[in-house]
Amino acid sequence: GPKVLQIPSHQIIDMGQMVTLNCDPVSNHLYFYWYKQILGQQMEFLVNFYNGKVMEKSKLFKDQFSVERPDGSYFTLKIQPTALEDSAVYFCASSLDSQNTLYFGAGTRLSVL
């Protein structure tokens, strides 16, 4: 079936550094999402993105977070600067429309030291 790819699968960085998580969504999808899962906790919605704009974001989507999809390439989540509490697995997802099935990537484990 359709696949969402997330690169890298694991990233380790020092607190205060910038990190960019990359997501290659399903090619004809129009809606993009980031979810965050802290170890042992529920996955939580961060943000969704459509037509070059953030449609909705949760309170977890701090000012240090930003998303973009320049020229239809990777859908990225940037955190600048990172904090210890940003350590989690970040899942990217895409869908054809806002009511359609979400297809998820395998996640990027971010470890902030």
Binding site: N48, E56, A106
Partner: protein, 114 residues
């Protein structure tokens, strides 16, 4: 507030036995409900979804789930499990008044004994 509860963090069943994974939700309006499965080192994959109509929905790999409005539940079932069903299963609720973002349960890890 909307929420999804999966009360069992871990379920162990013998291969060939039947299975039920529990999911309870809290939402005042009509829910859209989903079950996703995550195999090791893979992304979440949709098993089945409920939007309306027949409360029993069929999914992939012989999974089915039954929606109960009175019990606010959406339990996942399978008549006979296979070792390849070992994975983590997530129940999720889509909120219509919030751009269809998903609210997730904490997941249930299914372990199949030989």
């Amino acid at each position: 507030a909307q929420s999804v509860t999966q009360p069992d963090a871990r379920v162990t069943v013998s291969e060939g036995a039947s299975l039920q994974l529990r999911c309870k939700y809290s939402y005042s309006a009509t829910p859209y409900l989903f079950w996703y499965v995550q195999y090791p080192r893979q992304g979440l994959q949709l098993l089945l979804k409920y939007y309306s109509g027949d409360p029993v929905v069929q999914g992939v790999n012989s999974f089915e789930a039954e929606f109960s409005k009175s019990n606010s539940s959406f339990h996942l079932q399978k008549a006979s499990v296979h070792w390849s069903d070992s994975a983590v299963y997530f129940c999720a609720l889509s909120i219509m008044d919030s751009n269809y973002q998903l609210i997730w349960g904490s997941g249930t890890k299914l372990i199949i004994k030989p």
